[in-house]
């Protein structure tokens, strides 16, 4: 029973980190429009590098989340912390790693 409770806690925590359907739409819209302005509509890159699964492979989630939230000094990548939470950044990284999902 204790194990089950723990499991439920974990799964509900996992569930809670998923943005609401409405928020997901907003985030996807940001991805195509605002991220896409530099990284390309197809995410093959532009002023910024490509954000395709292959280019992101080997880069840990937390490294990518830090880049999204705090930007990258010396490049054109700005910090998005004011507009995106840590959980949302991780959710976006998930989308980038599995674009078909």
């Amino acid at each position: 029973m204790e194990k089950l409770l723990l499991l439920m806690l974990f799964s509900s925590a996992g569930f809670a980190s998923e943005p609401s359907a409405e928020r997901q739409n907003t985030l996807r819209n940001m991805l195509t429009n605002d991220c896409g302005a530099c990284h390309g509509l197809t995410l093959k890159g532009g002023m910024g590098p490509a954000l395709l699964p292959d280019t992101l492979a080997g880069k840990p989630d937390e490294f990518l989340a830090a880049t999204i939230l705090d930007g990258r000094k010396g490049t054109a990548m700005p910090p998005w912390r004011q507009f995106i939470s840590h959980e949302e950044a991780l959710w976006l990284i998930g989308i980038l790693r599995k674009p078909e999902s």
Partner: protein
């Protein structure tokens, strides 16, 4: 039969007349996600045609042939499409690079130059056939290739462009297209992000990697590239930039230049007799386009995310803000009619275009468009740098 001939001629000419279309008041609107180009009439506020499947137009720009019959569209994916405005159709389309940012048409209208990120460089094509005329790789350092930005045409069959990664400005002379002559200016400033040519004479690149602007006077290239407004914005004062300013519409009004600041929510007014900053105008966000109405009395400014639902208008006589408008969600681009009585706005997230009267500042028309991100009118055909 001889009697019938004049009648026949009359009927024939009538048929031809019915199909005639002038192009001086036409334009192209880009639908970024669908990859479409709409042909619009700016007098009647109508859409005439939709040309589909032009690739990734998430960043796109357009130049026009000097006869204003053809529009050349530069897509993000390296696509170069030639649209026939008379016949509402795609004339020819090539993929000339992996990733590109914009282009220009030569003084004589015969050459189309494209600036590419990948592979970094400039390619030049015949505007007639889109066949390759010259290939200029942007090589710097030890064989590295730079992204190319801020490509403009200049008098004398020349093009000028900037190397983002190298911090260089190149002057390309194509009087003889088979043997291109390149003059390189090195160490002109870190990370030039875009550039503009003012009055066919001053090439000015905005810098992202350091403060100020790089200026090349094409009447006196021997003097080299000068730095304008150095150290104006300190690094620690810089605000995040959620979209790079575009300098193409840079506004010249008399002796003054109106310039989007970068990393500051300001428009700068520069006196171009001395290249000194004479005033800063605080605006509501990071300016993207700072564009003068053709008579230069008004300067229209749009903004980067998250302030892109508003537009501000500067009075060029008072040198102050005159009005703030809220046209809709995500105003990405503005284009004035040739003599400036109206301005068209591309409002991406509302899926429409809005037409404003520039005297009353009232909206006078709307047209549907799917995620529009660029508006280009054929009158650009006769303007250096557009």
């Amino acid at each position: 039969m001889t009697r019938l001939l004049p009648l026949l001629c009359f009927i024939l000419s009538f048929n031809v007349l019915a199909e005639l279309r002038a192009t001086g008041d036409l334009g192209i609107v880009i639908e970024r996600e669908k990859g479409n180009a709409l042909i619009v009439n700016t007098t009647k506020h109508t859409q005439l045609a939709k040309i589909e499947k032009l690739g990734d137009l998430s960043h796109a720009s357009v130049v026009f042939s000097r006869d204003e019959r053809y529009a050349f569209i530069f897509g993000r994916d390296g696509g170069l499409s030639k649209i026939d405005l008379l016949q509402d159709k795609l004339n020819k389309r090539i993929i000339q690079a992996g990733n590109s940012i914009g282009g220009a048409i030569s003084q004589d209208g015969k050459l189309i130059a494209v600036s590419n990120y990948e592979p970094g460089g400039v390619k030049v094509f015949s505007s007639d056939t889109l066949e390759l005329v010259a290939d200029i790789p942007a090589v710097y350092g030890e064989g590295k290739r730079s992204k190319v930005v801020g490509l403009v045409d200049a008098p004398g069959q020349r093009f000028v462009f900037s190397l983002f990664d190298a911090g260089e400005i190149w002057l390309l002379d194509l009087k003889n297209p088979k043997t291109p002559a390149i003059k390189k200016f090195l160490n002109t400033g870190k990370q030039p992000y875009d550039a503009v040519i003012a009055e066919g004479r001053y090439y000015i690149a905005g810098l992202f990697g350091e403060s100020g602007l790089a200026l090349l006077d094409l009447w006196n290239p021997e003097a080299g590239v000068k730095r304008v407004l150095p150290d104006y914005v300190k690094d620690d004062e810089k605000l995040p930039v959620y979209k790079m300013p575009h300098l193409e519409g840079w506004a010249v009004a008399g002796d003054y230049l109106f310039v989007p600041a970068i990393g500051k929510h300001e428009v700068w007014i520069i006196d171009k007799r001395q290249w000194k900053l004479i005033k800063t105008i605080p605006v509501l966000g990071q300016p993207v386009f700072v564009m003068a109405r053709p008579d230069a009395r008004q300067i229209w400014v749009n903004f980067a995310f998250p302030d892109n639902n508003q537009v501000q208008i500067i009075d060029a006589n008072e040198l102050s803000l005159a009005k703030t408008l809220a046209p809709g969600k995500a105003v990405l681009h503005m284009e004035f009619t040739p003599r400036g009585e109206q301005v068209w706005l591309a409002i991406r997230d509302d899926n429409r275009l809005a037409v404003y009267d520039t005297e009353t500042l009232e909206e006078i028309a709307r047209l549907p468009a799917d995620k529009p991100n660029g508006i280009f009118f054929s009158a650009r055909a006769h303007k250096t740098g557009l």
